[in-house]
């Protein structure tokens, strides 16, 4: 496997507080990778470090053989890595359609995603295109956030906690869009607290605990016992 996106010994800090202690992950072209882990394991920090919101040393994040760890978020986006941030983070002053359009602000060149194809992916958004983005339901807002990231025609899509706070049926609707995104050849990295959901969509899984990778592999090759151990740092039975 040749990795398109890699982190190599990635360390990340919030001021004095260290969130990541040497994380290695690799994402190949077209792959869907899931990052799982408990609250505070460093999943969001990992996403923020890759997307350029958190700065690290240049060679700690490598994309298409280029060190990008020290780049700012707009420069990371320009290279083809887009993020759906935790909590959706829609722009309240912008309508649904404007939120989608702003996603194309940093785009260079053409690609599969336009307003039309995003509306085709999430038809409800077309109906609500002129509403303020924050007037939508949680699930619809999440669709806007994903559509907004797609509008930049990314080669890598980072999705941070997209099912958080949503009803299971809504989560199913959102994940139903993933095969179509994958068809465009994009790699997807999802951060997910719902382990079952993560194992279902991912081709490979990394488990984080306290800022370190504790387990990785194909979902079908991992046992429940292993995941529990990696997730909580204690064997299954110790918890019950």
């Amino acid at each position: 496997m040749t990795a398109m996106l890699e982190t190599r010994g990635l360390k990340a800090f919030y001021g004095d507080f260290q969130a990541l202690f040497g994380v290695d992950i690799a994402v190949a072209k077209g792959e869907t990778v899931a990052i799982i882990g408990a609250n505070g394991a460093g999943k969001t920090s990992l996403m923020r470090a890759i997307s350029g919101v958190l700065s690290s040393k240049p060679e700690m994040v490598v994309y298409r053989d280029e060190p990008i760890g020290a780049l700012a978020a707009p420069d990371v986006l320009a290279r083809g890595i887009a993020m759906v941030p935790e909590g959706r983070r829609l722009f309240p002053s912008l309508s649904v359609e404007e939120n989608l359009l702003i996603g194309a602000y940093g785009r260079k060149g053409q690609g599969p995603w336009t307003l039309e194809t995003v509306y085709a992916l999430f038809p409800i958004l077309r109906e609500r295109r002129n509403n303020p983005a924050t007037a939508l339901s949680g699930g619809q807002q999440q669709m806007v956030a994903i559509g907004r990231a797609l509008m930049s025609n990314p080669d890598v899509l980072l999705c941070d906690e997209i099912s958080l706070g949503l009803a299971p049926v809504v989560v199913r609707d959102i994940y139903a869009a993933f095969p179509r995104i994958r068809e465009t050849g994009a790699s997807i990295v999802i951060v997910e607290q719902d382990i079952a959901q993560a194992l279902k969509v991912a081709t490979r899984v990394y488990c984080l605990m306290e800022g370190r990778v504790t387990l990785s592999g194909r979902p079908d090759a991992l046992t429940r016992e292993q995941i529990h151990q990696a997730y909580f740092g204690a064997p299954c039975h110790a918890l019950h």
Partner: protein, 287 residues
Amino acid sequence: MRFIDTIVQGVLLGGLYALFAAGLSLVFGIMRLVNLAHGDLIVLAAFLILLLTSALGLNPFLAALIAAPLMFTAGWALQYLVLNRTLGKDVLPPLLVTFGISIVLQNGLLEAFSADSRRVSIGTLESASIAVGQLNVGLMPLMTFLSALAVIFSLNQLIYRTALGRAFRATSDDIVTAGLMGIRPQRVFAVATGLAMVVVTIAALYLGTRANFDPTSGPSRLIYAFEAVIIGGLGSLWGTLAGGVILGVAQTVGAAINPEWQILAGHLAFLAVLVIRPRGLFPRAVD
């Protein structure tokens, strides 16, 4: 009749105050920055127009057309190189740095142009007026007001109809997420201040042609601009126009009663609005 005349004069004067205020309002709306040197930048632009008219013999309107891109560049550089460094949670640095810039500009202009009062001559236009019914309306005040309408309409179109305007609003909402969209906030802010300086140039054209100005005229223009913004409500450009008009009418009515009360009446109108509607007449911004 005299009363109606006073009101009309006040409304038209309000156009000038709206022009003073529009740039301040734009910059505050996008980056929550209050530039204490705003008035001095208007005076700087007026001197620039004066220089172009007297040295090159240009028509003032043409001079303003040349001054506008120069002021845009100056504003862009000021924001990108200096003011961006001061933005953050603490309101002290931007205030004190722009206060320092205000003092530097005033004294720089004093050195360059002396303390004498100046005026940009526009020939016969100065006293031209048109009759509306029984009223005689000065052409320059009318043009000032129409320019204010045009400026505020254009700024609104820019903010609500263009990609740049979307970037302005997105950056104002959430600067980190804007970065994830490929927006470079530092540059967006620089463009916004550049645009504010274009508006400042238009304001300076009318300031310079309608009344005398000198290097220390800036602070009172800042205060009028500020009052118009607060009366209108933060974040609303049409509100700013309304604020300018209220200020202008208050001043002309005050002056009609006693010429010494013109400025005072404007301030009192502002304080009255502050008590009755602390968030202004047409508030939009949440903070």
